[in-house]
């Protein structure tokens, strides 16, 4: 007897939150098989991957450091995705946030003060929002797909950063390495706990999660976003201004990605380098969907994905596994999530069909 998929009457609310858990379980199972096939003892490999990295205080701090840019970016993206505004170019907005915020740090290098950090954060938000304003303008004015435009803008932003650190912003005492000066003390995110790299960005990310939740659950703008995403015709019936909502979503998601960028540059990196774009902007898309486009879900999803990052590094060190294993785990996670999502609308039945009725 083969299992069959039978449609449920309506979507199962339990499964909406169960399938991410199921996807994680299946990823672990497949990971076990993968490690075994590669000739590593699966138990030890999984331990090295998922337990060791978070078994120290420092490791927990690293988890938060990785989860911070993912959370910041994914909350903004999720709000846009709720309105069917598909900003795929968060990576570029993140880079431009780092460029503008980091540019401020470099411009006032040596003559800083406590005002510099807030100004950098604002500049980062502005940089990301400006970069997202381009797809917003082209979408609302010419109906150009924001998916393609925002994605293409990623490469422009990355090349712009490369040009800056190879040229005008290159550290004059940096032996010609393509990187800027190290930021001054006032231009670095304050570290919260000695002995970790946990910095001020993490509480900011928490605040953004709460703000995003409030926006979606309680405000009229959030309501308009949800209506536009679920039923565009109802939004136009109610007179919600679609253009303004598209602008709002792109500027918000761009601004939050830019904030993540400047926090990354002023946090763990401490300067502008070509390595600022680490793929967080793209990974945040996975985080947003894994978190069910819900800010609180995104927080959990970001922690999980952050674990795959630092687990990959840890496995590389202790077991000499290639770093590509990180991508494999993230890919499996997304794959299993998409596959198990079918259970939201279908249930599995065992046995033969009730009848061979042909449907016309």
């Amino acid at each position: 007897m083969w299992p069959r998929l039978v449609p449920r009457g309506e979507a199962s609310p339990v499964m909406v939150w169960m399938t991410p858990v199921l996807a994680v379980a299946l990823t672990l199972l497949a990971g076990t098989a993968l490690f075994a096939a590669l000739g590593y003892p699966p138990g030890r490999a999984l331990h090295a991957y998922f337990v060791e990295p978070v078994s120290t205080f420092y490791g927990l701090g690293e988890l938060a450091v990785k989860a911070t840019p993912l959370t910041l970016t994914a909350v903004g993206l999720a709000i846009g995705f709720r309105a069917n505004v598909w900003n795929i170019g968060a990576e570029g907005q993140l880079v431009m946030g780092a460029v503008l915020g980091g540019g401020l740090a470099l411009a006032f290098w040596g003559e800083e003060g406590p005002w510099l950090m807030p100004a950098m954060l604002l500049a980062g938000i502005l940089g990301g929002a400006l970069w997202a304003a381009i797809p917003a303008f082209l979408r609302t004015r010419f109906n150009a797909s924001e998916i393609l435009v925002s994605l293409m803008m990623v490469y422009v932003a990355t090349l712009f950063l490369n040009w800056l650190v190879h040229g005008p912003w290159r550290d004059p005492e940096g032996f010609n390495f393509p990187q800027s000066r190290m930021f001054g003390n006032d231009a670095l995110m304050p570290v919260l706990f000695e002995g970790t790299r946990l910095h001020l960005g993490t509480p900011i990310a928490f605040a953004v999660v709460l703000g995003g939740w409030f926006l979606l659950a309680r405000t009229f703008v959030g309501f308009q976003i949800k209506v536009l995403g679920l039923t565009p015709a109802a939004a136009s019936y109610a007179g919600f201004d679609q253009r303004r909502l598209i602008w709002f979503c792109l500027l918000l998601s761009g601004g939050l990605a830019g904030l993540a960028g400047v926090i990354e540059a002023a946090g763990p990196v401490g300067q502008l380098t070509p390595a600022i774009p680490q793929g967080y902007g793209f990974t945040a898309i996975i985080v947003a969907f894994l978190g069910r486009l819900h800010p609180l879900g995104i927080l959990l999803a970001a922690l999980l994905i952050a674990l795959t990052y630092i687990g990959g590094e840890s496995a590389q060190i202790t077991l000499q596994l290639p770093i590509a294993v990180t991508g494999v785990f993230q890919g499996m996670l997304l794959f299993f999530l998409l596959a198990t999502d079918v259970l939201i609308r279908y249930r599995v039945r065992w046995g033969a069909p009730a009848g061979e009725a042909g449907r016309a």
């Binding site: 309680r218 949800k226 019936y237 007179g239």
Partner: protein, 522 residues
């Protein structure tokens, strides 16, 4: 040619007999031990409200669905109908409510596509002409479907069935899109077919039509047979009460005599569209006064959608084409017009008037949230929204498990009551309602009509755009007709008739006064 009546001594072998048909869907039992006997040459009505199980039963007979249990007998022999092709082989034809024609192909090509074994094109055209002549179904086989009127398209569908020489013809709500004149022509065709021995299973909820056409009626309610009568011998009211299983309260509307100030004025409204299938409005002018219900009749696709969009503000024009409460509003969007006192009930209730996945409390915010103070400085008053939803549910008797129910879990009639209630409780000075009772059961329709009448009695202006002439004549003070983007001059209900409105619906704007007895056969 006649056939013995069902009551005679030698009852003929029924053409089709259904015994104990049961079919369940997740959550409901759509057919519960349904028995049905169809004799040769009879026109048999299948009556029931939406969701009573009519469509399910017919789909089982036509092989689209398979019954969970029960048997079908075709001319006395048990049969298994596993697909529509099986049904057609037996001699069952069906004309669906929603046509399945390709607009870019000709009538003949469409018919050929629907035949299980199509003859050569030349022979087919000849057959089509022969059959269409025999039954008075005027169709030019070489014309493209996009250029045909709705009535002509239906004739193509009927011809497609007749070419298979069916012994049982199933018609699902065939008159909902036809003018009264087209309806009487259709009935002549159906009577001729019945005289030749074809059994016709006629699904409708238009009771007067059933009383004039059918010789037998079976009434379904909640998936069960609740009665079988000869519809010619009982009143429409009796039939309606069998359908809803209770007393039918028919709302009465006293026409207003004194004319009050106009609440809505439309002046020389024209539209152009990039969409080749849209109808352009041509110089539409009318006004709706306080306390009045104005009806706009017309076959769908004659510009009603474009007019409604221009009234709601979803499409804008120069400012002075539309005036609400004396203010030029043509350039304003929907929310600005709502602020002037407009409320709007769209034709598609699920997917425009309400968001299917959202709860009723959330959907309560959708129309005119600001005017009811449910949004304060950008933040939604959740408690206020729930209380508002509860009030709508309570006042308009919406059957639901509460304000937390998703809009899509409501039946069409209950959702429509909710939407109309939401719009009315916003205390509009002008309400525009499109097809307010389309597909709504009789009980809910009466409640909706009553609500519209009460609103007008309280001094609001009401505009109803509908294809249902019975509805318009029951509700309205004046009626106008849309045809090809033009609007006829509104006539007081007392000074016009269904026939006259029907002629206008067929496009006889200039001859409508002179040509009352003149049957236009296009």
């Amino acid at each position: 040619m006649t056939f013995p009546n069902a009551g005679s001594q030698e009852r003929p072998v029924p053409r089709l007999e259904a015994r104990g048909i049961t079919k369940g869907f997740p959550g409901t039992l759509a057919n519960d031990h349904v028995d049905l006997v169809l004799d040769p040459g009879e026109i048999h009505a299948l009556l029931g409200e939406n969701g009573a199980g009519k469509s399910t039963l017919v789909k089982i007979i036509y092989g689209v669905l398979k019954a969970d249990s029960g048997t079908l007998l075709w001319e006395g022999r048990p049969v298994t109908i596993a697909s529509p092709a099986d049904a057609r082989r037996l001699g069952i034809g069906m004309v669906f409510q929603h046509f399945s024609l390709f607009e870019s192909l000709t009538a003949a090509e469409n018919i050929a596509l629907g035949l299980d074994s199509a003859p050569r094109p030349r022979d087919l055209a000849a057959r089509i002409r022969e059959v269409s002549k025999r039954y008075g179904l005027d169709v030019d086989p070489d014309r493209h479907v996009f250029s045909l009127s709705v009535g002509e398209r239906q004739r193509v569908e009927i011809l497609r069935c007749l070419l298979q020489e069916p012994k049982l013809l199933i018609m699902d709500e065939p008159t909902s899109v036809l003018t009264p004149q087209e309806v009487s022509r259709l009935f002549e065709t159906l009577r001729q077919l019945a005289d030749e021995g074809v059994t016709i299973l006629y699904i409708s909820h238009k009771l007067e039509e059933i009383r004039s056409l059918c010789t037998q009626a079976t009434v379904l309610r909640g998936g069960r047979i609740v009665g079988a009568v000869d519809p010619r011998t009982v009143s429409a009211r009796t039939l309606a009460e069998m359908m809803i299983g209770g007393d039918l309260v028919v709302p009465a509307h006293e026409p207003v005599e004194s004319a009050h100030a106009p609440r809505l004025v439309v002046r020389n409204l024209s539209s152009t569209s990039d969409d080749p299938f849209a109808t352009e409005l041509r110089d539409v002018s009318f006004e709706v006064r306080a306390g009045e219900i104005l009806g706009i009749a017309g076959v769908a696709g004659n510009g009603q959608a474009e007019l409604l969009a221009a009234l709601s503000g979803e499409s804008t024009t120069a400012a002075d084409h539309v005036e609400i409460e004396g203010q030029a509003a043509g350039h304003l969007g929907p929310r600005a017009r709502r602020a002037l006192g407009l409320a709007f009930v769209p034709e598609e209730r699920l997917g425009r008037g309400a968001v299917p996945e959202m709860t009723l409390a959330e959907n309560a915010i959708l129309g005119g949230a600001a005017s009811r103070g449910l949004v304060r400085s950008g933040v939604i008053d959740g408690q206020g929204a729930r209380a508002f939803a509860d009030r709508i549910i309570d006042l308009f008797k919406v059957a639901t498990r509460g304000h937390g129910a998703e809009a899509r879990s409501l039946s069409g009639g209950n959702l429509q009551k909710f939407i109309i209630g939401r719009e009315i409780l916003n205390k509009p000075r002008l309400l525009v309602a499109a097809a307010p009772t389309w597909g709504v059961d009789a009980g809910a329709a009466a409640a909706i009509h009553q609500a519209l009448i009460d609103l007008a009695a309280d001094g609001a202006a009401v505009l109803v755009v509908s294809q249902d002439l019975d509805e318009l004549f029951a509700l309205c003070d004046r009626i106008a007709v849309m045809f090809h983007g033009r609007l006829s001059h509104p006539q007081p209900v007392g000074q016009t008739s269904v026939e006259q409105i029907g002629l206008l619906m067929g496009g006889l704007f200039d001859r409508s006064e002179a040509g009352k007895g003149d049957r236009d056969v296009a």
